[in-house]
Amino acid sequence: MLRRSVSLPFTFDLKSRMRLAGYILLLAPLIILLRLAYMQTFLHEEFASKAERAIYNYLAEDRLRGKILDVNGRELAESVRTHSCGVNKRYVKDKDKTIDFLAQTLDIPKSRIMEKWNRAGNFFFVAKKIKPDNYIKISKILRTPLGEGLELTPEYERIHPYGYSALDVIGAANSKNLGLSGVEQMFNRELSQDISRKRAKRARRGEIIYDRKLKEELSVANVYLTIDEVAQYYAETALKKAVEDVGAERGAALVQEPSTGKILAAASYPVKDGQSMAFQFAYEPGSTFKTISVASALDAGVISVTDSIDMEGRQWTVARGVTLRDKQHDKDFLSVPEVLQLSSNIGAGKIAVELGAKNLFYYIKSFGFGTKTDVNFNGESKGNVPPYNTWTKVDLASKGYGYGVLLTPIQLIGAYSAVANGGTLMQPHLVDRIEYAGGKVEKLSKPVKIRRVIQPETSQAMIKVLQSVVEVGSGKRAKIKGYNVAGKTGTAEKLGKDGYGKRQHVVSFCGFVPATNPQFTILVVLDNPSKYTFGGTAAAPVFKEIAEHLLALKGVKPDQLDFE
């Protein structure tokens, strides 16, 4: 008999079912475990950096930023702790009462709060950076039924106690605590703190709980400028008045200490944060540049102070088709001091031609034109000095009286300071010192001599010549009772689409005082006045006003003996 092997049919008994259910139940945790292991091992970096970024973001908003102060420790920019007021709709007990209270306290129309309420999901900010008085009012009711659902989130706000004063130099920092312009940007690393790798947690009510290590390192550095807030105020006030009086588009006033290169005041008007004309405004200077060409020629020995220059009947044909005219005087010959006193373009042009393109170029570069300063102000212009081998005779002559070169106020004031201090170009300083946490102080304004530009004898000769410009020449309005003032006026036509135009010009005055022992070099530039005016009439009085205040402020003794 054939025996058939018969396999038993699969019986899905209770035991098997239990086993299967067990496997299925185990599968889910197993998948989770495997996924976790994968994340921990292979995706560790990605998740760690994600978490770090999230922490950093709110830390960046909350953390303190260092102060920016003037040379005497007056706070020009500081971070103050403010709060933002938010509403957690879910926890609000009485909507109408809460909205009434907020509208009244924060002085916001009820309709605006209602609008936010209706638009938001659960949470919305009613007001950011609320005033301390309002913070006090809200925090007092926070634990009462009226305050339920209200939240006060701490954050820091950048405050400028002196308003717009020096804001062009200070610059701005954004709500993420990042310096965007000016000193805020230049010293962002010192003013803020690199905490991206540090850890911190935020507690339920908003406050940050730092790692022990981070809390110890929390202090930030304070940056002290060389600017004296009082000097800055005087410069700003005088500049604003002048800009408005002559209807200028904008203006700049700078004060430098010639012996050290320290900038005591750097005013721009209108004021825009981080936009300082001192560093960013490049212009053709016109006659204030004659000082440079004359000093260069004197230093090179090409001319001497006693030389007379033929005015060619006050019509000098520089090249075919190009004639220079002096309309401001009727002399056939001018001495070197007279060239500056009367601001003769023919005289300065002839001196430049006598000096030669290569030599003039060397001196111009040596005075620091065409090169950025070491201040490193963001957006600083280096100006423009074309290479001398491209100059024609007309170019050379015109550079002698300040056309065909672009320079910045910081470069020009530095050059005048070199003339004033005996012939040495000093490195300009805008920041005096940095005070780190723990008391360490880094001095940044030690006088640094860049190079000798002219000999001390040339400097002395130029000081006398520039003094005569103020005493008997175009700079009479810069005279100060009791003090010898040296300086030079400038009125330059601006290059437009159709060439140089009479309607658009830059007027300026640059000088130093007291001439016998210079303490302040001051430059005033007014761009594009709507009224037709000159450096001697519009800018020289501003120089005088600023200089008078500074001399009185610093108690500088008069250098004239019989001035009564």
């Binding site: 007056r74 706070e75 103050v80 702790r81 005033k131 301390p132 008085d133 913070y135 006090i136 925090s139 007092k140 926070l142 634990r143 405050i159 106690p161 002196y162 308003g163 004063s165 807030e229 009082v230 105020y233 005087y234 006030t237 100060i480 009772k481 009791g482 003090y483 008078e548 205040h549 001399l551 009185a552 108690g555 500088v556 003794k557 008069p558 001035f563």
Partner: protein, 86 residues
Amino acid sequence: MRVLGVVILLALFSFGIVVMRIEINRSGRAISQAQNEVEIKEARNQYLKLEILRLSSPENISRLAQEKLGLVPVKPHEVVVLDQPK
């Protein structure tokens, strides 16, 4: 008897825990209130400090000196500078 002892002990223990919780809550509230007061004082202090800075700005002092006291800026040659005693 032993059971009763255990029950009393447990009751005392529970009572202790309750008292402790109440005390913790009370202290927590006091700390929180004190913290709030510190924050208010700090905010007020900061506000006043800023007010001082604003009021002591050269612009404000010049304006007040001219408007209230009729003072005018001194000319530099009118300033008498005394030599420092040697």
